[in-house]
Symmetry: C2
Subunit: 204 residues, 2 copies
């Protein structure tokens, strides 16, 4: 039941286009394509924001190694010594990569009018990955917050304050990335339901 991706204007949400209503259909298609374009640009903005924040979060956490001396030195603190911080760094990295791919797919769709993957695969792929990665990022950052609070209770942070501050910044950036990712998840969910109900990603 895949539609030809080369003809996005022909199936713009009109259910039964009869020959006599071609002008009206043409008009509706144009409105639909314009609305779809605006919708895609909104998604693109959210994805770009999610990319920036999650990339910054990942960089801050991956670079979070403080205290002189070698790795086995008890004074030095590294992000990979802590489970939750490993989770934060890796989750933010995965979300940054995924957002980069989705930015590419979104730009492709806006410029060419067709999706990168077949339409049915694309809408379900976007929605499911948005959902799962949003939950993953939130989970990672909550765990990171809990660990950061525990470290403050112990004497770790008085001994090496820069490590704690950098962890806090990374976790906060991750929460911002989660917020934008959950917005895009709402929009891509809307696209899935439009596709299920109308057989097209256009929402008219």
């Amino acid at each position: 039941m895949l539609r030809s991706p080369q003809e996005p204007n022909r199936n713009g949400g009109i259910r039964t286009p009869s020959p006599r209503s071609r002008n009206q259909s043409q008009f509706h298609s144009t409105v639909s394509v314009q609305k779809n374009r605006r919708f895609n640009i909104l998604i693109l903005i959210f994805r770009f924001a999610a990319f920036c924040f999650s990339l910054a979060s990942a960089i801050f956490m991956f670079a979070n190694s403080h205290g002189g001396g070698s790795d086995s030195d008890s004074d030095s603190l590294r992000w990979y010594h802590f489970d939750a911080f490993r989770f934060v760094a890796i989750a933010a990295g995965i979300v940054a990569l995924y957002s980069l791919f989705e930015i590419g797919a979104s730009v492709w769709e806006i410029s060419r009018g067709t999706t990168v993957l077949p339409e049915i695969v694309q809408v379900w792929f976007d929605f499911s990955h948005d959902q799962v990665f949003a939950y993953m990022l939130l989970s990672a950052d909550s765990a990171g917050t809990a660990l950061a609070r525990t470290l403050k209770d112990r004497d770790t942070c008085t001994a090496n304050n820069a490590f704690c501050v950098q962890s806090d910044i990374s976790v906060a950036l991750g929460f911002a990335g989660f917020m934008f990712l959950s917005f895009s998840s709402l929009l891509s969910g809307f696209r899935v339901v439009c596709f299920v109900l109308n057989g097209s990603r256009f929402h008219m």
Copy 2:
């Protein structure tokens, strides 16, 4: 633009019912009402499961006080001594109360054919609260997991193992509750989009 909630059969997804197609319209309405009923029963099952798991999680955490002696005794461990465990207990409690309310609303809708609140308020209320509470529960349980792991690294768990085991059980039950809540969130999101597109919560 609120429709009368007393007439759910009349607006069952049919957009322009003309007099000559009344039989067909009647048939479609009946199919739509049956489908809607099955959909509501599915939501009810998910909500009931979310209620059971989150209630169990809350009870396990609220009852998590081990070690003899008074509250100020350094040997005794109480759930409210730890931020993340407080978060787990309260989030699970809130979700249990919310699920109980939603079970009532769902039973009302199945038995009487109308929603408790006006239809537009009900679909948006359900979806927004499902989303927010699902994120809240996941966040709480992730933080609880991170804290539980930290406690295991310290010597707390060797001194008082029952406290750690009970916390782990509570967090695991919370994750199960989150899973069912996120399923109901998907279904109520579907209902919102049906309402936005068709002006009715029926999905035909």
